[in-house]
């Protein structure tokens, strides 16, 4: 069997950005590979047996809940996603809800789930959920927000008129890509909280791990000086390793 690239839905860019995890880690944490042929042997074709379709939900792909929802032998209906040209909803955006009980209300986007074209709006489009109910305990009722589709269930709010509006991506004269409201041609800036990740609110607020991290100013220091030497020659010279032997003639075939 061949590995079908088009069957495995990729995790959204914004999800990867929010997680602040290496992509390879996200991949290996959510993928379920049941069998993989050994690599590096000519007799084995490149093949694997793995789960092909994953159900992406509000649970993030690297979490245990995601694994639970995608347990082996659980199969759920295929989800159809409307293709989207360019993602234009970010955490912290003010949006208006176009459907449901909270139709016409405005709120702030608190989560973006790109794999399903969803956003979650803080405190809106909610339902009640009873948690921890037992025979003796009636349980605790909490309000939980249901996700909304970005295609037709929410719209960005125009900063001038505070009315829902269509947007358009355009370039400013400085070459910056911005969202422009179609109603008033005003720029809708991308909020600061869009760069929030699991680890830090913004890049500037990241606290370095002094034991493990290399300091930022050390990283940007330029120590490279071009020399007419290979890496090995340079290291050997620096370490005082002298090599006078001439390698015998060899043949490549």
């Amino acid at each position: 069997m061949r590995i079908f690239g088009y069957l495995s839905k990729k995790v959204g860019d914004l999800t990867v950005k929010y997680s602040n995890l290496p992509e390879s880690y996200i991949k290996r944490s959510y993928e379920q590979v049941y069998w993989k042929n050994p690599t590096g042997y000519p007799q084995y074709a490149k093949a694997q047996i793995a789960r092909k379709r994953y159900r992406f939900t509000t649970n993030r792909p690297w979490t245990g809940q995601f694994q639970q929802q995608n347990e082996r032998n659980t199969h759920r209906k295929k989800v159809f996603l409307e293709p989207i040209a360019e993602w234009s909803f970010f955490k912290g955006d003010r949006v208006e809800i176009m459907v449901g009980r909270d139709k016409g209300k405005q709120g702030i986007v608190s989560q973006v789930i790109q794999e399903r074209n969803w956003v979650i709006v803080e405190g809106l489009n909610t339902h009640l959920r009873v948690m921890g109910k037992t025979k003796t305990f009636p349980g605790v009722t909490i309000q939980s927000e249901a996700p909304l589709l970005v295609t037709n269930q929410v719209k960005l709010v125009d900063p001038e008129s505070l009315k829902p509006t269509e947007i358009e991506w355009r370039y400013t004269e400085e070459g910056q890509k911005v969202r422009v409201s179609k109603a008033s041609s005003r720029i809708i800036p991308i909020p600061k909280s869009a760069e929030e990740t699991m680890d830090f609110k913004s890049k500037a607020l990241y606290i370095e791990n002094t034991e493990k991290d290399t300091a930022a100013d050390e990283v940007t220091k330029i120590t490279f000086a071009p020399k007419l030497r290979t890496f090995e020659m340079d290291i050997m010279e620096e370490q005082g390793i002298k090599e006078d032997r001439v390698p015998a003639k060899s043949y490549w075939y």
Binding site: Y25, E211, K212, T223, F224, D234, W252
Partner: protein, 254 residues
């Protein structure tokens, strides 16, 4: 530079200072020179004791290619060993955590270290290729040839190095077809079946896409058709629109 790498190489420096300072000689301190042999026991394979009970050890991201390109060869060399030690430590800790049925904190650290090491290799390779191209006009990489292998499939053959030339080497058997062609019945049969398999895969993918587009049209009739065309270029959308599946008699839930 040493100084920062020392920081990452935490166990040797941090622990030594507290345990026995005299082992790091005055010269060493002056030059800020770091040798890992200062504490050459197996505990270097483990994390510092302080981190054993931690449930979250947060670290920064991996080194990017552009950050490594501005570093000198010796810095890359040192950083490689820092990362190698870190990787060994992480693998040991992971193994130990599994053995003790504990949760290994932040397993993504392994991926970060791995990515940094791969990037270092890439940068070193880039530099060497630049040197060899300038000096010899060749890349200096292991030569690779496009061949047709013994079962008739296209393959990249990585050449090997031998002490004697090919015409003297009577034990060497060519692992690919001479002119890319053979008259063998078995290989022809294999290729015929292989092509059929490939064709079936393609056909299934085409049908799957066609059905998928029909379902999309049923669910989202007002969808942007340009986008749909761009995403599924092989599907005849006008044809898909006319089908019974695309019409639908009710609004499906998803």
């Amino acid at each position: 530079m040493n100084k920062i790498f020392n920081k990452i190489l935490r166990c040797s420096v941090v622990l030594n200072k507290s345990q026995n300072v005299y082992r790091m000689g005055p010269v060493a301190i002056k030059n800020n020179f770091h040798t890992t042999s200062a504490k050459c026991d197996l505990m270097e394979f483990f994390d510092t004791k302080k981190n054993w009970s931690e449930s979250n050890i947060r670290v920064g991201r991996a080194w990017k290619l552009d950050e490594l390109r501005i570093k000198s060869n010796s810095d890359l060399h040192k950083l490689w060993y820092v990362l190698l030690k870190e990787r060994n430590m992480l693998f040991t800790m992971e193994q130990e955590c599994n053995a003790k049925v504990r949760l290994f904190p932040n397993p993504e650290r392994i991926d970060k270290v791995q990515e940094s090491m791969e990037n270092i290799e890439k940068v070193v390779r880039e530099r060497n290729i630049a040197y060899y191209k300038l000096e010899t006009g060749e890349t200096g990489e292991r030569p690779v040839e496009d061949v047709v292998n013994l079962i008739g499939l296209q393959e990249k053959y990585e050449k090997k190095e031998y002490a004697i030339p090919r015409f003297l080497n009577s034990r060497w058997v060519k692992p690919y077809l001479e002119n890319g062609y053979t008259n063998s019945y078995a290989i022809k049969k294999f290729l015929r079946l292989y092509k059929e398999k490939q064709y079936n895969e393609k056909r299934k993918a085409r049908n799957r896409d066609y059905n998928h587009v029909q379902q999309l049209l049923k669910r989202f009739p007002d969808m942007d058709m340009e986008l749909l065309k761009a995403e599924y270029p092989n599907v005849d959308i006008e044809k898909a629109k006319r089908t019974k599946k695309a019409r639908g008699n009710y609004m499906p839930k998803y």
